[in-house]
């Protein structure tokens, strides 16, 4: 209850700040519209107003404050506008029986989710395989680890279109291409966490295995892998969020297939800020659900394994 209240307080503060910010952000447009409608605005000409700062314009025209929340293409849409858009493009579409039409965020969310999950599965698998080989081979540790770290310094925005072009030339399905881009981001936390996790058994535990003359694979399956679970889950949480970012970035290059990334792109082409914000919030909500789901799996698994009580 206490944590719920504190979350509520933070959310309320953010929304309050958001509403407050709408006034200076949208004041120029509001002045323009008011003037067109024949109302009095100071200063009177548009060039004069443009030269003025937002705050000054806002202070001079308090009568406009109420009108900044109902524009078609505001520079900063108000929370309730974004909320209405979200409602219209999700449940509203369901009510019309067009839940998966092109205008529905459910469709685009689903497209993004499938790319995210595919990339997350690829990334987790690749991450674990790399971590296992790094832990078991000094050569891998010395040669591959620096490249893995270097890979994450390349901006994904730059490399994503190239991956799309190369994979398209190889006639790879678009969904797989998106999965690959998403994997590029999500394997990294898994590698780092798993390497740490697989190395987490202490000297005594490793000595104990030696006294039993355990083979490397026995040590791996019976000691290293179970010991790494807390580390794996921590990495998966980061990895799934990274996966989603990868999927959204991939959709900027493959926007013909839809997805939340495509909605962001289309929104910015046509100045549809409300659409951009609702796609952003939808992506954030999707990430929150994914991270939460992994958190649940983590709690159950670690409890069963006796890591937490």
């Amino acid at each position: 209850m206490k944590s719920f209240l504190s979350i509520l307080t933070v959310v309320a503060a953010i929304i309050g700040l958001w509403y407050a910010a709408c006034v200076p952000m949208n004041i120029h447009e509001a002045a323009m519209q008011a003037q067109r409608a024949g109302a009095e605005v100071t200063p009177e000409t548009a060039p004069e107003r443009r030269k003025m700062g937002r705050i000054a314009l806002m202070v001079k025209n308090p009568q406009l404050w109420g009108t900044v929340y109902a524009q078609d293409r505001p520079q900063l849409p108000a929370p309730h506008q974004v909320g209405a858009e979200l409602w219209k493009t999700t449940w509203g579409m369901v009510e019309k029986g067009r839940a998966f039409s092109k205008r529905s965020l459910l469709l685009h969310g689903w497209i993004t989710l499938s790319a995210t999950l595919l990339g997350f599965a690829f990334g987790t698998l690749l991450g674990i395989v790399l971590a296992v080989s790094i832990v078991h081979s000094r050569a891998m540790d010395m040669s591959v680890m620096p490249w893995i770290i270097a890979s994450q310094t390349v901006p994904i925005l730059a490399i994503a279109p190239m991956i799309v072009v190369v994979l398209a030339a190889l006639q790879v399905d678009d969904l797989i291409a998106k999965g690959v881009i998403s994997m590029y981001l999500s394997f990294f936390p898994v590698v780092v966490g798993m390497v740490k996790g697989l190395r987490s058994p202490d000297g005594m535990q490793m000595d104990q295995m030696r006294t039993w003359y355990a083979s490397r694979s026995q040590t791996f399956w019976k000691l290293r892998l179970p010991s790494s679970m807390p580390y794996l889950f921590a990495s998966l949480k980061v990895g799934v969020a990274a996966s989603l970012i990868g999927a959204v970035v991939a959709e900027l290059s493959l926007s013909q297939n839809g997805g939340l990334g495509a909605r962001l792109l289309a929104g910015s082409y046509y100045g549809q800020t409300v659409q951009i914000w609702s796609a952003l919030l939808a992506a954030a909500a999707l990430a929150a659900v994914l991270v939460w789901a992994i958190g649940v799996a983590q709690n159950i698994t670690l409890k069963r394994m006796g890591f937490t009580r």
């Binding site: 030696r210 006294t211 039993w212 003359y213 890591f307 009580r309």
Partner: protein, 260 residues
């Protein structure tokens, strides 16, 4: 008399560190016979743990020879000649007590049909009947350490090497476990090597007490314990016990003499 189970001759072990070489063991010779309970006592850095680790083939000596059951330590390890108990119980939290005891059986490839009887037997030996289905965190520290002893006994090695197994436990639990360990030793006729830095523990448990001293790690005295094998806890108040404890203390002091 038959050949000793563990025999060390002129054992040397020097670790190369950044601060120069450290003589962990210097010219250590010792014979441990079948059924002996040998305690190693001395201040930290005297090489008592290192000696046990050499016997277990966890460290490689830089000089001298050591045999275990007539084999090299490495071969003895492959032949699963010994069980090793560490200072921490080191039970796997994701396995039950039975599952933990089963671990070495799985690793050593014991047939599945035998697991049950092996586990039951050692659970009885350490008095943990009825706790097999519990998880480690449900047990006290002393019980966890008993479970780890059961695990070391599970595969029926003749030698039990114990590295300060009760070091992290409080006095009362320790007394109780010492009593139980003697009982267990009496029932199983194992050969036990036991590292400790408690004088009463060493005198109470052993047939032979090896007093060691540091820099370089070496043996300063080997004391044959003349106490009867039947040892109730209050034997520690008898003059015989006190006399042996006194000799151990003298040995420890002698080792320190030129130190400071």
């Amino acid at each position: 008399m038959s050949d000793p189970v563990i025999s060390a001759k002129n054992l040397d072990l020097t670790f190369q560190t950044n601060d120069g070489p450290v003589h962990a063991l210097k010219d250590v010779s010792l014979a441990i016979n079948k059924g002996d309970f040998v305690s190693f006592i001395g201040p930290s850095g005297c090489g008592k743990t290192t000696f046990l680790r050499v016997v277990a083939a966890l460290e490689e000596p830089t000089g001298g020879t050591v045999t275990v059951n007539g084999m090299s330590p490495e071969e003895a390890r492959k032949a699963r000649a010994y069980g090793y108990v560490f200072q921490a119980a080191g039970l796997y939290p994701w396995r039950t007590i039975r599952g933990n005891i089963q671990l070495p059986l799985e690793i050593m490839g014991f047939p599945k049909s035998e697991w049950q009887s092996h586990i039951d037997k050692v659970l009885d030996l350490v008095d943990l009947r009825g706790f097999g289905k519990k998880f480690p965190w449900q047990l006290s520290g002393g019980m966890q350490q008993r479970a780890s002893i059961a695990r070391a006994l599970a595969f029926d090695a003749d030698i039990l090497l114990m590295d300060e197994p009760f070091g992290a436990l409080d006095e009362i639990v320790r007394d109780h476990l010492n009593e139980q360990l003697l009982e267990l030793w009496d029932k199983t006729h194992k050969t036990i090597g036991f590292v400790t830095h408690s004088i009463p523990e060493a005198v109470y448990l052993s047939t032979k007490i090896v007093v060691m001293s540091p820099r370089p790690g070496r043996i300063t005295d080997v004391i044959e314990n003349t106490l009867p094998r039947e040892r109730p806890l209050d034997i520690r108040d008898t003059p015989e016990f006190q006399a042996i404890a006194h000799r151990v203390r003298d040995g420890l002091r002698a080792g320190h003499a030129y130190d400071d």
